[in-house]
């Protein structure tokens, strides 16, 4: 009991250390640069305690739940040897975690507003929601596809450089062709898709797959899934802006 309490204290100290830079930056700018007092000191301190507790619990849970389940499923699929189920799982994981992502819903609604203001679609709630939903499913599909591509890459042992470079070449090319107003949204949509729960799961899946297939190096082949997941949405969102 005492031992685990000690471990908990230690990881809380670690979380506090992770948070310390933000506290220092904010305090410095507030007190020295802007020369204003810290408002609501008690509230801020409570908030900091919550963040430290939250980060500690999250990392505990990560090593207990998310990492083991991601890896054990990767091993199970590799042992089962069914590629089509693995691909179905990869797609479902990418699509399912993205379609309900709050950050994506917010960005899609914003994009619909921009499109309506620019006269691309009719400016009424119906047309906007149709447009926003279309965008949301496009991004979710793109992420699902990205995880599938990434998993196939691990199975085949293709090297990642050329695929990612080709993808970015496509992004640059499409930036020239897509309507101006969608570009910022497209670039940002690559960043919003990878949430805090998806990242550890997908990483564990990739590393688990690469370590259970003979001839794959978990370091070289296991990583890279997130890179695909932040690349494809850019391409698909620009395509969506060009087509719709």
């Amino acid at each position: 009991m005492q031992k685990s309490l000690y471990a908990l204290m230690q990881s809380m100290l670690g979380s506090l250390r992770d948070l310390l830079p933000i506290i220092i930056v904010i305090a410095f700018f507030q007190l020295v640069v802007l020369q204003q007092p810290l408002p609501d000191l008690v509230g801020v301190m409570t908030g900091v305690v919550f963040v430290v507790l939250g980060l500690t619990f999250f990392i505990y849970g990560l090593e207990m739940g998310l990492f083991p389940i991601g890896e054990s499923m990767a091993h199970a699929f590799a042992r089962k040897g069914s590629v089509s189920w693995l691909i179905a799982f990869a797609f479902a994981l990418g699509f399912g975690t993205t379609v309900a992502e709050p950050a994506l819903i917010a960005v899609a609604a914003e994009a619909a507003q921009v499109a309506a203001n620019g006269g691309m679609i009719e400016n009424n709630p119906d047309a906007r929601s149709v447009y926003a939903n279309g965008l949301r499913f496009t991004v979710a599909f793109a992420v699902g596809l990205a995880i599938v591509i990434g998993v196939v890459r691990i199975l085949k042992g293709w090297s990642i450089q050329y695929m990612i470079m080709g993808g970015y070449m496509l992004v640059v090319l499409m930036t020239g062709l897509a309507p101006q107003w969608i570009i910022g949204i497209a670039y940002d949509s690559g960043g919003v898709t990878t949430s805090t729960i998806t990242v550890p799961l997908v990483t564990a899946l990739g590393v688990g797959l690469a370590s259970s297939i003979e001839g794959r190096n978990p370091m070289i082949d296991g990583f890279g899934l997130i890179a695909f997941a932040s690349l494809t949405p850019m391409i698909f969102v620009m395509a969506y802006g060009m087509v719709v």
Partner: protein
């Protein structure tokens, strides 16, 4: 009381986010893999910890740090604050009058990245898989440095009005060149670290900074220029992470060369 209500509402929305993920995982586990999960109790507890942890984390950020950070972004980009350094009211603001904005962008980019939970997760995994060659802190600090440089360049772009593609394309060219010279094993991880950086902590603060700048700098539109900071924040970590690996490799080579030289000397004498 109010705190408990907002904690519960955040807890519910976190659970709502996790439900589809849990449904997919347990669905495939039950119907496709058809094997009991090893240590099911432990895994479920782990999921519980993750949900509770995220809820506390988000609540704390929303209560304490985000309002302050957003307020600061507004105040720093406020023309009144920026004009303090000017002698007469007729002077026009130049890009170099915004130096506090660039410094703030750098500092906030670096510090929020250090606290980013998904980056911590990837760093733990990378350290484990590489057998300790890639240090948890080495990776986190190089990613943080990349985000910091990216965001302060991004704010400079908004202020100066230089088109975004110049930076992005130059950045990609650098990434391509480094890919050929960096140690093979770092490349996929470096590509991943671009996507990992921009999640819960960094995005809200950075977005506030970008939008605040685009609204107050004359001649910028919030819609066209306010976006795009995230793209900077996910490009530069690739460069710094590969750079980190290159420096580590270079150091090890030099160390080895020095040791060889010493051995040679010992052999001769």
């Amino acid at each position: 009381m109010e705190l408990i209500i907002s904690l519960l509402s955040i807890l519910f929305s976190t659970i709502k986010d996790v439900i589809p993920i849990a449904a997919i995982i347990f669905g495939f586990q039950l119907f496709v893999i058809r094997r009991p999960i090893k240590d099911l109790r432990r895994v479920l507890f782990g999921f519980g910890y993750v949900i509770v942890g995220l809820a506390f984390f988000l609540l704390g950020l929303e209560k304490a740090l985000f309002p302050l950070g957003r307020l600061m972004a507004e105040q720093l980009t406020n023309p009144e604050f920026l004009r303090q350094g000017l002698s007469s009211a007729a002077d026009v603001l130049h890009w170099d009058d915004y130096y506090w904005v660039y410094i703030f962008a750098f500092a906030i980019g670096a510090s929020t990245t250090i606290a980013e939970p998904s980056l911590i997760a990837v760093a733990i995994k990378a350290n484990e898989v590489s057998g300790g060659t890639i240090g948890i802190w080495g990776l986190r600090i190089s990613v943080a440095l990349g985000v910091a440089v990216g965001i302060s360049l991004g704010t400079f772009r908004i202020v100066s009005g230089v088109p975004i593609h110049y930076f992005i394309i130059t950045g990609y060219v650098l990434v391509v060149i480094q890919t050929f010279f960096a140690p093979k094993m770092i490349v996929p991880l470096a590509y991943d670290s671009g996507g990992v950086t921009t999640s819960t902590v960094t995005v809200p603060l950075v977005a506030a900074l970008g939008l605040g700048l685009a609204e107050t700098v004359p001649g910028r539109s919030a819609l066209l220029d306010g976006f795009g900071l995230i793209a900077f924040a996910s490009l530069f970590p690739m460069i710094t992470v590969m750079g980190y690996a290159q420096i580590t490799e270079f150091k090890q080579k030099r160390l080895r060369a020095a040791r060889h030289a010493e051995l040679d000397r010992d052999n001769k004498s």
